[in-house]
């Protein structure tokens, strides 16, 4: 048979894998510098645990049944597993907990949508801290991470779901209506929101707010615009917090990247306050996002405020390619031929001097061609008399002095560009 991968799953070959590794490191280094510790969680979780925390998993998670008949799911995100981890493993420790992760997640998609069913999320969770200071920490870190990734052009949309919640509460039009409003907001359907606002039972003040608020976006002045559009709906406290968060981001020097946007709604429904999304120009989908989910840990009997975000590694990589800022990964320095026993010993010394070196059993011009093919800077041969560089025709040319110098930084194959 000629094997294929299942729809929506793919292999990652060395060149891309090296770039992904470099990108993960850039992001991880930022989070580490903020004091976030790396954690890993299992690829599978019990379905009941996931569903207790996030009601909107239906149709999203890959489900499995194990030999005990237990229903399991491949993790569709990492936020809920980390909340589960904190609730079950760190309950007695003094918070807040600052955790980071880089993990593959799995989501079901219908066929023929060209969508991956496995992708990689790099993110952080700040568990046990609430208020604008914690929210601002998360958003500032998001900005810093995108800068560190190498993106020059990006923006953050920041809002709060509390405003929507307050409007729905103020409308007094019942639970079914409220659920329909949230469904329409999640579907980003402004036409449906207008229709729901026009229903007869809706308090006029809330109806006006419902029409206006999802269309408000801008700088800090958007918060004032929302305050007047939703006046009397009881969301002043939430807006005060958002304003303080914005001012903290100004102090952190990242507010120029942040737009206040009350239409931001994440696809998972567990968010209770701050919501953020990151965008790159020209990319039709967000780079990532997150927010505050103060109810999730309560579902695991360990109530605690929490906030975080995740970036889609693949999406950041695409944006980097578009903006020409992708990681330049270092290639091979040398291909080394010669008598095998000798070559192994010399290779060890080369590596000790910082070279990236691969062994070859080819000789002469074939060895040079292999070096070119692999993008290596040098073709070397280890002989009883010492270590020699081959010239382009495969003739033994210059000796390499002892002790071995540091690895070269230019390459024939890469047109002499700095690596």
């Amino acid at each position: 048979m000629r094997p294929v991968t299942p729809r929506g799953f793919r292999d990652v070959l060395p060149e891309e894998a090296a770039e992904r590794e470099a990108l993960q490191r850039r992001l991880g280094d930022v989070f580490s510098a903020w004091g976030y510790g790396l954690v890993e969680t299992p690829v599978v979780e019990r379905l009941d645990a996931l569903e207790a925390a996030a009601g909107s998993l239906e149709g999203t998670a890959f489900r499995l049944v194990d030999l005990d008949g237990q229903l399991l799911a491949l993790r569709p995100d990492v936020t809920v597993p980390i909340a589960r981890l904190v609730a079950s493993r760190m309950g007695d420790e003094v918070g807040p907990h600052r955790l980071r992760y880089c993990a593959n997640v799995f989501r079901e998609h219908e066929s023929l949508r060209g969508q991956s069913r496995q992708f990689t999320q790099v993110g952080v969770e700040l568990v046990g801290a609430r208020g604008p200071a914690a929210d601002a920490e998360v958003v500032a870190m998001l900005v810093e991470a995108l800068r560190a990734a190498g993106l020059s052009r990006f923006s953050i949309g920041m809002g709060t779901v509390e405003v929507f919640q307050a409007i729905v509460d103020a409308a007094g039009a019942g639970e079914t209506w409220g659920a329909a409003v949230f469904a329409a907001a999640h579907d980003r359907n402004l036409v449906e929101l207008d229709r729901l606002a026009a229903e007869p039972d809706v308090a006029p003040r809330a109806a006006a707010a419902l029409r206006a608020v999802p269309r408000i976006r801008g700088g800090v002045e958007a918060i004032e615009a929302c305050r007047s559009a939703a006046s009397g709906c009881g969301c002043d406290g939430a807006l005060d917090d958002l304003q303080t968060t914005y001012e903290l981001l100004e102090s952190a020097g990242v507010a120029d990247k942040v737009a206040v946007d009350f239409s931001v709604m994440r696809s998972f429904d567990y968010y209770t306050g701050l919501v953020v999304e990151a965008y790159a120009p020209g990319l039709g989908v967000p780079l990532g996002g997150g927010g505050r989910y103060d109810g999730v840990l309560a579902a695991f009997d360990a109530p605690s405020p929490a906030a975080g975000f995740a970036l889609g590694l693949e999406r950041v990589a695409i944006a980097l390619v578009e903006q020409d800022g992708g990681p330049r990964t270092r290639g091979l320095d040398a291909v080394l031929g010669g008598e095998p026993g000798l070559a192994l010993e010399v290779a060890a010394r080369l590596r000790g001097a910082g070279w990236r070196v691969t062994l070859s059993q080819r000789e002469g011009s074939a060895l040079v061609r292999e070096a070119e093919h692999r993008g290596a800077v040098e073709a070397l041969v280890a002989t009883g008399k010492g270590l020699y560089r081959l010239d382009r025709s495969g003739e033994v040319a210059l000796p390499i002095e002892d002790p071995i110098p540091y690895a070269p930084t230019t390459s024939w194959a890469q047109g002499g560009e700095a690596l």
């Binding site: 980003r188 402004l190 039709g284 999406r315």
Partner: protein, 227 residues
């Protein structure tokens, strides 16, 4: 999936426009909104039409949500019917009013007794449609078990040639259904043209929300024609 489109500063707004029955009204509305649509009126076989302020991508109506959701177009005009059926992540910004039609359930005249007789013995109703998602949701909500046969056109044929008991189709006036001896037995939902935006473009490109505001004003002025 993500569309790869260069994102240079100052590029024209990319607007997806549906071919077919919504095309003429879409062009007229965009023109009323102050856009230069001259080149769009007779595009010939061109599928991408560029003017000073916009780049129009002309596509099949069912492909418009795909272009917009994946970011190949910043915004576009599409029927509510295809938006529901596609189920993709686009922001529905304005009900443009034109292209109004409704989804209905119809059956061959005088066959109601036969259909319910068959349903009693066979347990299911066979439904032919171009819109399996909408159809399934409708019958699920009513607690009726159906077998859906997806066809790509001439849905009204299905009951006549015995492929299905009833059809779910869109109709503006009901003429085609009547001419084929089909009787409307139930309304499913109304549809009309919508202005939709890519979720990122709506939030990062002020031109999309400005165009949405203008279109909303125009549609409110004359909800019948959207003009």
């Amino acid at each position: 999936m993500i569309a790869y489109r260069e994102s240079e500063e100052g590029r024209p707004l990319r607007i997806a426009v549906p071919k077919g029955s919504l095309f003429a009204d879409s062009v007229r509305l965009l023109q009323a909104a102050g856009l230069d649509t001259g080149a769009l009126e007779n595009p010939g076989r061109q599928l991408i039409v560029r003017t000073d302020d916009a780049e129009y991508i002309i596509g099949k109506p069912t492909d418009i949500p795909v272009y917009v959701a994946y970011g190949a177009a910043d915004c576009g005009i599409g029927g509510k019917d295809v938006l529901i059926e596609a189920g993709l992540d686009v922001v529905e910004l304005v009900d443009l009013g034109f292209g109004a039609c409704r989804f209905v359930v119809a059956e061959k005249g005088g066959t109601q007794a036969e259909v319910s007789e068959r349903a009693r013995h066979l347990g299911v109703v066979r439904v032919a449609t171009k819109y399996p998602v909408i159809t399934q949701a409708h019958f699920d909500a009513r607690g009726i078990q159906v077998e859906i046969v997806k066809l790509n056109g001439n849905i009204e044929l299905a009951p006549l040639i015995g492929i299905a008991d009833v059809v779910v189709d869109i109709t503006a006036t009901g003429t085609t259904l009547r001419e084929n001896d089909l009787r409307i037995i139930e309304d499913v939902l109304p549809s009309s043209a919508r202005f939709v935006g890519n979720p990122v473009a709506v939030r990062t490109d002020p031109r999309v929300s400005r165009l949405a505001d203008t279109l909303a004003e125009l549609s409110a002025r004359d909800p019948e024609a959207g003009l």
